[in-house]
């Protein structure tokens, strides 16, 4: 459906950032998601940042109950959810006061004036009304009687006031869609489907959506509406995807390409639960999902499944990964494939459950007893979660090792347009189960469970049920080749070194590192995980300011790609931006003995590109 509005001037923007903010019960995540969908349909590139409180329904009207959904979209490549906001939709004073500092000077603020009574101001602990105390000076303020208009629109329905007030976010959505010339059809389709069984609610929501859209045209308050033309994305078929979804799809793809059934053991935890929800929908791909009694049971069951010849996978967030440590050690000792997904959140302890952080790297790298190296693979964008998941499974199966697969709350919840991959072109990676004895001793065929593949150092994987290859695994130190329990001092040293060497050999499969920018210069930014967008956007800006800055982004953190020393040789300064107190930087310094500078942000929020630019400029001035 397209609505013409010839009477209003249209201003063209190359990119724009919108932030919807309201109570956690106001449906802001939904509004944001629907705006995202419409934007994807308008063929813009985009990135989103849902930001919500840990409480399911925090007290109404309070600043700590504010739920937000920010997205940036554009006709150019979009790498972050945006540094500064062009349009803030604030449903109440709390949402306004929490977020107004993020709006750029001259930006637009749409407020629901009906929510600015004295009571609302008290709840937000405001001494004066921001609508008339100067807070909004320098912004284009659009005051909308959102509650009143919604009630007016639906007065002839049998819906009660509470139900009507709950749907007012649809009015806000419609208005926002109009303002940025987005299509209404995706939202119309979604509402029609979602409330198919409740025709009255469906019609009410549709009515409010359209009213909001038309309000934009008729109100005198808007002089302009904006238009953002389609981005020049690579050719192909796209969909908008969230990181949690993409990662689940990557795991299912790995199951199909390896012929190994997935056993997914998990215990609910924010923000990893979405993976469990996603995986449990794919039963017709033979995916077994198991909601365990606790984190330890989840990982142990995954390991039991791996022992049986399935692909055992477990997922959690920081506190849960901490609990899984002992079992990861057992997986490493028994040298069975397993993938442990860590959707990081703010820590330590319970920390900031709904906020993003990258502070589990050292735990994933070192957080187990004994010498216990495991490969670490990190995803860098919502769509990249698909490839990272596939890669983690491939390494686990080929090298018979547990692999840590790292994501974070921002990646898991954030969405972006995703160029749908061609499944047929993805590589197969058969597990190559051993079915016969693997060595001959004095003319007799024997099976040695710890006889290794020369190239990968992987030991054989045998499915129980295979006659003649009965063997026992366990956590006690293994004798080389036989796998029998051994306390021999030299054997222990040899086995520790061998397990470490096996993990190092993963590097032989890692493709050359892509350098963003020139392959030599004054300063190299080194990142990992979800900071990719901010780092690369910062590199662009620095380069356009004439600075010789490049970046690399590490998919493989353990082992590192083998070409890093060569790359580092062509730069003078090194900055490692991380959403933690400096973790990758420690690993890099340890490994390369170069002056890596940490640039850290520990606020539960992603980097703004501008923050990185400012830091780099400071270093180069």
């Amino acid at each position: 459906m397209s609505v013409e509005s010839p009477e209003k001037a249209v201003e063209s923007l190359s990119e724009a950032t919108v932030l919807f903010a309201g109570d956690s019960g106001d449906g802001m995540q939904l509004t944001g998601t629907q705006f995202t969908l419409a934007t994807a349909f308008a063929q813009n590139d985009l990135a989103t940042l849902p930001d919500f409180p840990a409480e399911i329904r925090a007290p109404v009207g309070t600043t700590y109950g504010v739920s937000g959904f920010q997205l940036q979209f554009g006709s150019v490549e979009i790498r972050t959810p945006g540094d500064e906001v062009d349009l803030l939709v604030a449903m109440n004073p709390a949402a306004l006061s929490v977020n107004i500092r993020r709006v750029k000077k001259g930006g637009t603020v749409i407020v629901n004036v009906d929510s600015f009574e004295q009571r609302d101001l008290d709840l937000a602990r405001l001494d004066s009304n921001p609508l008339d105390d100067g807070t909004l000076d320098g912004f284009q303020v659009v005051k909308v009687e959102l509650t009143k208009l919604s009630r007016e629109t639906l007065k002839d329905t049998s819906m009660n006031t509470k139900e009507i007030d709950r749907s007012k976010n649809m009015f806000a959505l419609g208005l926002s869609l109009w303002l940025f010339s987005r299509p209404m059809q995706p939202a119309i389709d979604w509402i029609s489907k979602k409330f198919a069984k409740k025709p009255e609610i469906r019609d009410a929501n549709l009515l409010l959506l359209k009213k909001g859209f038309h309000y934009g045209e008729t109100t005198e308050q808007f002089v302009f509406r904006y238009e953002v033309s389609p981005a020049k994305l690579r050719k192909g078929k796209y969909r908008a995807i969230r990181g949690a979804e993409a990662m689940a799809l990557g795991l299912v793809a790995a199951s199909q390409k390896s012929g190994l059934p997935i056993f997914y053991g998990a215990y609910p935890i924010t923000p990893a639960s979405d993976m469990l929800h996603e995986m449990s929908r794919h039963k017709n791909f033979g995916v077994m999902t198991f909601q365990a009694e606790d984190e330890i049971a989840a990982v142990c069951a995954a390991l039991g499944a791996s022992f049986s010849g399935a692909l055992g996978i477990t997922a959690s967030s920081g506190p849960g990964i901490a609990l899984k440590g002992e079992a990861i050690g057992l997986a490493l000792m028994t040298e069975l494939p397993m993938v442990i997904v860590n959707i990081q959140r703010g820590g330590p302890s319970t920390g900031l459950p709904t906020k993003t952080e990258q502070s589990d790297l050292l735990m994933c790298m070192y957080g187990r007893n004994g010498e216990s190296p495991v490969p670490i693979v990190a995803a860098s964008t919502p769509g990249d979660c698909f490839e990272a998941a596939f890669e983690a499974c491939r390494i686990a199966v080929k090298y018979r090792t547990p692999v840590m697969l790292m994501s974070d709350g921002y990646l898991a919840n954030g969405s972006a347009p995703w160029l749908i991959p061609d499944y047929a072109k993805m590589p197969d990676f058969g597990p190559d189960f051993l079915e016969k004895p693997n060595v001959e001793v004095d003319g007799e065929a024997r099976f040695l469970p710890y006889l290794r593949d020369e190239k990968t150092l992987a030991r054989p994987w045998v499915k129980p049920g295979t006659p003649g290859l009965e063997h026992r695994l366990g956590g006690l130190e293994k004798e080389d080749k036989t796998g029998n329990v051994s306390y021999d001092p030299d054997n222990h040293q040899f086995m520790v070194k061998t397990r470490a060497e096996k993990v190092e050999r993963v590097a032989q499969d890692i493709p050359p590192t892509d350098i963003y920018g020139d392959d030599s210069g004054e300063l190299l930014l080194i990142g990992w995980g979800s900071t990719r967008g901010s780092i690369e956007a910062a590199v662009e800006r620095c380069r356009s300011n004439g600075l010789r800055v490049s970046s690399i982004h590490l998919r493989h953190i353990h082992p590192f790609p083998s070409d890093l020393s060569d790359i580092f040789a062509h730069f003078e300064k090194f900055v490692v931006p991380e959403l933690n107190n400096g973790q990758l930087v420690k690993i890099l310094r340890d490994r390369f003995l170069l002056p890596f500078e940490p640039f850290t942000k520990i606020q539960g929020q992603p980097f703004k590109a501008s923050e990185i630019v400012a830091y780099v400029e400071g270093m180069l001035s």
Binding site: G236, A297, G304, A424, P464, G465, E470, R472, V485
Partner: protein, 345 residues
């Protein structure tokens, strides 16, 4: 039937002997340990079950008993403390056709692994749990365990332990175990019959086995296991039979909901007054299984409760079959392209 639930197996398999289940590893339990009797009983039982050797898997946790898999020439995993039920859950759920046995001790499964024990019982995976109960921590050299009697003097409780002990049978019944039984290391015949029944049972076969630790807790169960006192102190529960003991001289009747010892020789009571045991009765299992704390009552052994109910793995795979039937076998490309898509030309 979902995959893995066929009747295949057993037919045409070579006849196995006890020796086929022995490994070349030295058995490193203390001389005189009750574990030897359990190991020998299991090795004697397996050839009778008609299960191909390669389909058998032993999973254990940590503790003296948990070294068991190393001594069985089958598949096996010596896992981590208390977690054998969780490991076995993933194994059995993925491969229902395997014959899975969990070996655990009182410390392993009732302390650190209490949570997993409870949950495997309620889920009802079709496998056997052999809980070696010696009422002491052996491998860590003699601390009291969750089944040790209150007041137990050990290295960690020089003035006596304060903890109230678990009755593992009551725990298993409380977690809705579908098969709950108790036997003893010093009665291999009874043990073998109980383990065999647990194996036949189509869900989690929970078997508590009293096991003597002759180093740290010698004689803890001698009242029930030694010739001199067994007849008077041990009561063997059998389905459909009256509860009598001491060679028929004593019996158990119900006084309201309370079990009561009755003398069958003084003319006041007869065997007709005794409880006729019904292992399908949750209520009887509760009453008889809890005969534990009273010093004047005999300690019951045998199958307390057996109930047929679908196993977890059977339901898991039925659900996969059902969903696949309904939605069709998964097509990955379709899944990747699900939802709202658009073309960029």
């Amino acid at each position: 039937m979902p995959p893995g639930f066929s009747d295949a197996g057993g037919d045409g398999a070579p006849v196995l002997k006890k020796k086929d289940f022995e490994t070349d590893q030295d058995v490193r339990w203390c001389p005189g340990c009750g574990d030897y009797a359990i190991l020998a009983t299991v090795q004697r039982l397996l050839p009778e079950l008609g299960v191909p050797k390669e389909d058998i898997v032993f999973i254990s946790g940590i503790g003296c008993s948990s070294r068991f898999p190393y001594y069985m020439n089958t598949y096996g995993m010596h896992s981590i403390h208390g977690r054998a039920p969780a490991v076995a859950t993933g194994l059995k759920a993925s491969r229902p056709e395997l014959d899975v046995w969990i070996i655990t001790g009182d410390g392993d499964s009732l302390s650190i692994g209490g949570n997993h024990l409870m949950h495997i019982l309620r889920r009802n995976l079709d496998l056997q749990i052999l809980l070696f109960n010696n009422q002491i921590y052996g491998l860590t050299k003699g601390q009291y365990s969750p089944t040790s009697e209150q007041g137990k003097v050990t290295k960690s409780t020089p003035y006596g332990s304060l903890d109230h002990p678990f009755n593992p049978i009551a725990v298993a019944l409380g977690a809705d175990g579908s098969f709950v039984a108790r036997t003893m290391d010093r009665d291999p015949k009874h043990m073998k019959s109980i383990l065999k029944r647990a194996h036949t049972h189509g869900g989690t076969g929970f078997c508590e086995i009293y096991q003597n630790c002759n180093i740290f807790n010698d004689g803890a169960f001698f009242d029930y296991t030694e010739k001199s006192s067994k007849a008077l102190r041990a009561l063997f529960v059998e389905n459909g039979k009256p509860l009598t003991y001491d060679n028929g001289k004593l019996g158990i009747r119900l006084d309201g909901f309370s079990p009561q010892v009755i003398n069958l020789e003084n003319g006041k009571w007869s065997v007709d007054d005794c409880i006729v045991y019904d292992e399908s009765s949750r209520e009887l299992a509760g009453i008889v299984g809890r005969m534990f704390w009273q010093p004047d009552m005999p300690r019951p052994f045998g199958v307390f409760y057996a109930e047929d109910r679908p196993s977890y793995e059977e339901q898991l795979h039925s659900q996969i079959v059902e969903v696949t039937k309904k939605r069709g076998k998964g097509d990955l490309q379709k899944l990747l392209e699900a939802g709202d898509t658009w073309m960029v030309e």
